[in-house]
């Protein structure tokens, strides 16, 4: 299960996976945990996944990117408890051409957001807790209290 990890994401390690002497363009995307969401101050987040499906979706996304463009792709998504500023997702795309590297990197993050089963529970400064839900009004749905 190489795409999900509970460990800190290190961009340089991912870049080393895809670096090659004939790939002169490297585009990366990192999504970090923000301190606000929908106007509320966030303290920390819990990321959870449907692990088997998340792994197979990540694998499929990387395979599709490699089918569509001449690229090498490294992808990791954190799960577990994250603090403000932590990298939640990191993507590194290497290619001989920058057009292709930008396109493929954009594709991978868009697909990750669209189809990888990962969810986040936000813990706010005021003590309340909510699940992030892009389809809900306000972007969140209240969660049970952390100790419930």
């Amino acid at each position: 299960m190489p795409f999900l990890t509970e460990h800190r994401l290190v961009l340089d390690d991912l870049a080393a996976e895809v670096a090659a002497a004939d790939r002169g363009a490297i585009v990366t995307f990192v999504g970090t945990v923000r301190d606000h969401h929908a106007g509320r101050a966030v303290r920390r987040l819990d990321y959870s996944a449907y692990p088997e499906m998340a792994e197979s979706e990540c694998e499929a996304i990387v395979a599709e990117a490699r089918r569509r463009w001449p690229v090498a792709v490294a992808l990791r998504h954190r799960v577990g408890q994250l603090e403000i500023g932590d990298a939640a997702v990191a993507i590194v795309v290497a290619s001989a051409h920058r057009d292709v590297a930008f396109e493929a990197c954009r594709f991978v993050i868009d697909e990750v957001k669209r189809r990888v089963p990962i969810w986040k529970k936000e813990y706010y400064a005021d003590g309340s807790v909510a699940w992030v839900d892009p389809t809900a009004a306000g972007g969140t749905v209240p969660a049970k209290a952390p100790d419930a």
């Binding site: 996944a49 499906m53 197979s56 997702v89 669209r114 990962i118 699940w131 892009p134 969660a143």
Partner: protein, 87 residues
Amino acid sequence: MPPAKSITVTVRFLARYAEVVGREAVSVTASAPATVESVLSQLGAVLPSAGALPPKPLCARNFRQVRGNEPLLDGDELALLPPMAGG
């Protein structure tokens, strides 16, 4: 061997849905042939708390997203997924 008259699938609740129903999975036996929809319609009888779930949640059969008319076979895992929020 005649075709099975019923199948048993594992229904898995993810993230917020596990909170809503109060557990992470339940075993459901349904008459064959079964689909995602036919199993979902029997879920409330097995697990009353599942009545609080949306009527047509995102579903995955054996780790792949599927529609409501997807056939289910004995031993399948049917997962109910809240809207995704990764990245």
